[in-house]
Structures are given as C-alpha cells and as structure tokens.
C-alpha cells in the first residue's frame, strides 16, 4: 500500500467537517457587503489549482469513461465505438477476476496485519514506561515506510531469490530447507510473497498513526484503570481499543482503498507473473494498455478501479459523518 492513500483518506474524513466551519466564517459581518466584482477577483487565488486539477485530474477521468466504450489502438489512432464490449470481455476474462481476487487478498491480509496487528503493537509500544524506547520502536518500525515501495520491492526480490536469497538460506539454516522455494516464481506463492513484503513496508506507518491516537487518550483513564486493578490485556480491550475505534474504522477503509490501488510492488517484483498469477487490477490495466496495446480494455479496468475506490470513499465520508453525530 502506498503511503499516499491513508493520508488522503484521513483528509477526506475531515473534509465534511471543515466545509461547515467555512460556511460559518463566510457569513460573518461586513464582508457580505463587498462588491460582487471584488468577490470574483478573489477567484484568482484558486485559478491555478482549478486549472491544473481540471486539465490533469478531472478531464482525464471523464475521458477514461468515454474511452472504455472504444476499441482503440493508440499507435495508429484507429478508434471504433464498441459499446459495452470491453466490459463484456473483462467479465469473461479469468485474469481480470484473478487480479480482483488478489486485490481482495491484499485488502484482507493488510487489515489483519497492518490494522489490527499494528493496533496491538502500538498499544504495546505506548505501554512502555520509558519514553526513549517508545520513540526508538516507533521510529525504527517506520523506516521501511520512508524508503520507497520500489526499493523495498527490489530488496525483497533479492530476499526471495531461490538459491541465494536470504529467506531460503535462513530456512535451510534452521533445518526447514524443505520449505524453501522460488517464492516469486511459483503461481501459488507469488502474490502472497508480495503481500508479505507490503506488510513489512507498511506496518510501522500504521503503528505511528495508532500511537498518535492512543496518546490522545486522557492519562487519567489509565490511572483509574490501574487503581481498579485492571490488567494490560483487559485494559486494551475495554479501554484503548474502544477509544481509538474511530481511527481503526478509518484505517480499515483506508487500507482496503489502498489495496485496490496496488501497483508499484507487484510491478517491480513479479510484473504480475508467473503466468499472470500475481496480477492486480493496476498491473492488469497497465498490461492491457501498454503491453497488449488494447486501450479500450485498459480504460474499462480503470473504470472498475474508479468505481471501487469511489464506493470506499463514500463509505468513508458516511462513516465520518456518522461518527460526528455521535460525538
């Protein structure tokens, strides 16, 4: 999962809240009396952002939908309207479904490790008495998230190498040689090897975010729990976890959304192989467009990704709105 997705999603959650505040500010005082001309002149501040976004973000998105109805060769420029053919082809394409399934695996395993695993880990780290050790663990766990998915992917490509890779040599040294294998070269292990790398790369990021959330819990609550003789396990389940559940819910949605946008690590480590076993939607889109030169199908896959991520974004907005009412 790229680090961009979670931050963007957190941003979305607050977006709704802030719009309301803006409304309040806008209506205040003498500003309303300003001339209309001065108002329009104010748009100058927004013009660059709106222009750049319209040209490079929103327009391509609209075009993409139009392209998904075409049979189109980008190199000789031939375009034919084919209606829903591209979508029908996708529906009967086993690799598309396999890619979608891999995205689902990605989401599921990331929720287990990067959301719930990281939550437990963050709670453990935050329960340490020594502030310096807390900092050390948080900081070092985060390092893989600072190095790019590309570098991490290349690194694990070497670690997974059949003969000289760290993992197999390690297994052999432990006497578990029978488990050593070509992790990225076998159809049934490739995607899971990539997902495992992604957990390594991303868990420290979630730990950091959960730590921030846990630090916001008032210390008095912990002191009260301690006076009542509540042990650490019960404290986690009846105090820490419920009090950061907003963050947890957010992370779940963010993680799923990120899992459907996966591209870098798969591209670097397997390019979707062997035999398309580790394709995900993003790499299958790339393959359709830039390897088999079928841009209509690529656009249709793009629409599929768009719909999935849009639904998740809506879920997120609804979730944050619901939470807002409860506060």
């Amino acid at each position: 999962m790229s680090t961009q997705a979670p931050e963007a999603a957190q941003a979305r959650v607050l977006a709704g809240r802030k719009v309301e505040q803006a409304g309040v500010l806008r209506g205040s005082g003498s500003r309303r009396a300003r001339r209309r001309g001065a108002q329009v002149a104010g748009l100058v501040w927004l013009a660059p952002a709106l222009f750049v976004l319209a040209v490079f973000v929103y327009w391509p998105l609209i075009e993409n939908v139009a392209f998904s109805f075409l049979k189109w060769n980008i190199y000789n420029g031939e375009q034919t309207f084919v209606g829903l053919d591209n979508y029908a082809n996708l529906a009967s394409d086993p690799v598309f479904w396999r890619a979608l399934g891999n995205n689902v695996w990605y989401a599921g395993l990331s929720i287990v490790f990067q959301v719930f695993g990281s939550l437990v880990l963050a709670a453990i780290v935050e329960s340490l008495r020594n502030e310096r050790w807390r900092k050390v663990f948080r900081g070092i766990y985060f390092i893989p998230s600072a190095i790019s998915l590309t570098v991490a992917g290349l690194l694990f490509y070497f670690i997974y190498q059949p003969q000289t890779g760290l993992l197999n040599v390690f297994l052999q040294n432990l006497g578990l040689g029978q488990f050593s294998q070509a992790w990225l070269g076998r159809e049934n292990t490739a995607i899971f090897a990539v997902i495992a790398m992604s957990q390594w790369q991303g868990f420290g990021y979630s730990v950091l975010l959960f730590s921030v959330a846990l630090q916001r819990i008032p210390q008095e609550l912990y002191e009260a729990a301690q006076l009542d003789g509540v042990g650490p396990v019960r404290r986690f389940f009846s105090l820490s976890a419920p009090l950061v559940r907003e963050m947890t819910g957010l992370m779940v949605i963010v993680t799923i959304s990120g899992a459907f946008q996966v591209f870098n690590e798969v591209m670097v480590m397997t390019s979707g192989g062997p035999n398309n076993a580790s394709q995900v939607l993003g790499t299958w889109l790339y393959h359709a467009g830039f390897v088999t030169n079928d841009f209509g199908s690529a656009a249709a896959i793009g629409v599929a990704i768009f719909v999935i991520t849009l639904v998740l974004a809506m879920a997120q907005l609804a979730y944050s709105r619901k939470r807002r009412v409860e506060w």
Partner: protein, 278 residues
C-alpha cells in the same frame, strides 16, 4: 502470592520485549543486509549472503553513480524540489482563497479542489498518455512535473485549508484596517503564520515525489528523464549480474528519505495526524 504475581508480570514483560525486539530485527536486518551487500563483491553476494562484507567496497557506490544513478539522482532531486515547490504554492494560494477571501461559490469550489483526494492515479493513466503524446509532454521532465504537482494538490490544499480555518479572524481584519490588500495580507501575514503546516506538507510531498513510481515508469522511456525508482528497477533488469552496484543504488535512493524522516519526525507526525480526530 505476591511473588507469583510479580513473576507473571516479569514473564509477560519479557514476552513483550521479545516481541518488540524481534520485530526490530525483522525491520532492520533486511536493511542492514542491503547496505552490507552494497559493500560486497559480486561473488560474495552469491556465495555468502549472510556473511558480513569482507571487503568494504566503497567503489561500488562510485560505480553505481557513474552507471546512471548520478543522473537518476539529479532528475529525482530537481523533480522533487520543483514539484514540491509548485504543489505548495498552488495549494497555499487555493487554501487562502477558500478560507480567507470572500469568493462566490465557496462550497462548490471547496469540493472541486478536495474531490481529487478520491481519485486513484491509475484511473487517469490511459487518457493522460494520449494527452501527453498530443501535447509533446510524453517522456519529458515537464510532463512529470505537471503530473507530480497536480496529483498532490488536493491533499496539500486540504491540510492547509484545515489549518487556515483555525487561524484567528482578527488577524485579517486588523490588516484590512491598516489598509493592507488581500495579496499583502497573504504574503506578509497568513503565509508566515502557516509555516508549521507548510513544513509538514513539504516533508510529506518530498517523500511522495521522491518515491513515486507509476507516473515515472509509464511516462518515460529510458532517456534522460528516468527518476531513481524507475532507473533502479531498470538497472536491475539490465545489470542483473552486478548486484552490489544495484544495492549501492538502492542505498542511495533510500538513505535521504530515512534521514529526512528522522530529522523532521515532528513535522511528519503532524502532517500524518493532521486529518485524524482533532
């Protein structure tokens, strides 16, 4: 009874530390291995993957640098710097316009700027390639600069907007009373007051732009505009037998961001946590 309890606590404490330290090892060992391999000979990488480097071949770094990493670094540094600068400027203007200037259709324009948060870059890939080929931006530095800048605006503007909404209203009013124009108020007052959020978003944008792979891979074809991530992936496929050199390149790509994180950890956390449950 008391001793039993204390013993139980001790065991649990030991288990906790064992877990935390084991994970520390899982995180650090591959990274140390990466640095170690960058210092080995090719033969040692293959024959003794676990061993410490016997030779400390710093020249591997020079070789990597001369075999293209130098150019990748130059491209990545200038792209990251310019794209971050452009994103910051455009976003801070937009945030100012949305929060402190009286403009028509404020609500709709806010949505127009922030809705980009919902879009995955992959979705726009095909039309962007077509557009860039038409505009002559395909395989150019300028093309990547446009994409990097544009796709980071919604998030950056979002954080800045949230921050500026919390700045006291009286500041602008005082400036207006002193006869300052909207522009003067921005440059002399609001911009300086926003430095904390600017610092936070700069750190996040630098990290993202430096590590970006999708656009850099799709929109370049290996001539002079390769960024570090793309160049390294390329180097590995072409240079498959000179592993230490590839590892040296990876270290050079990773190290600046690790240092950036540790130096700017405070801003980092502020930026990341900026959207979360205030």
């Amino acid at each position: 009874m008391v001793t039993l309890l204390r013993l139980g606590r001790g065991v649990r404490g030991a288990a906790v530390w064992a877990l935390l330290l084991a994970l520390l090892l899982v995180v650090l060992y591959p990274l140390v291995w990466m640095v170690g391999n960058a210092l080995k000979t090719n033969a040692q990488v293959f024959n003794d993957p676990f061993g410490l480097p016997t030779s400390l071949l710093w020249p591997n770094f020079a070789t990597a640098w001369n075999q293209g990493v130098g150019e990748f670094v130059l491209t990545s540094v200038s792209l990251t710097a310019l794209a971050t600068l452009a994103t910051e400027l455009i976003s801070v203007w937009a945030a100012y316009g949305l929060t402190r200037v009286n403009i028509p259709l404020n609500r709709q324009l806010t949505v127009a700027v922030l809705a980009g948060l919902m879009l995955a870059p992959t979705v726009a890939l095909v039309p962007l390639v077509k557009m860039f080929q038409g505009l002559g931006l395909y395989n150019t530095f300028l093309g990547l600069l446009c994409l990097y800048t544009a796709f980071r605006i919604p998030f950056t503007a979002f954080l800045m907007r949230a921050y500026m909404l919390d700045l006291p209203r009286e500041v602008d009013e005082a400036a207006a009373l002193d006869g300052a124009s909207t522009a003067a108020t921005f440059w002399r007052i609001i911009l300086p007051m926003s430095t904390p959020i600017i610092a936070a978003t700069v750190v996040l944008n630098v990290l993202q732009d430096w590590n970006e792979y999708l656009f850099a891979m799709v929109f370049t074809s290996g001539t002079g505009v390769e960024t570090l991530p793309v160049g390294l992936a390329d180097m590995m496929s072409k240079n498959g037998t000179q592993y230490p050199v590839v590892f040296a390149g990876m270290v050079m790509a990773a190290l600046p961001m690790v240092i950036l994180f540790f130096v700017c950890q405070r801003y980092f956390v502020r930026g990341l946590a900026g959207g979360v449950g205030k």
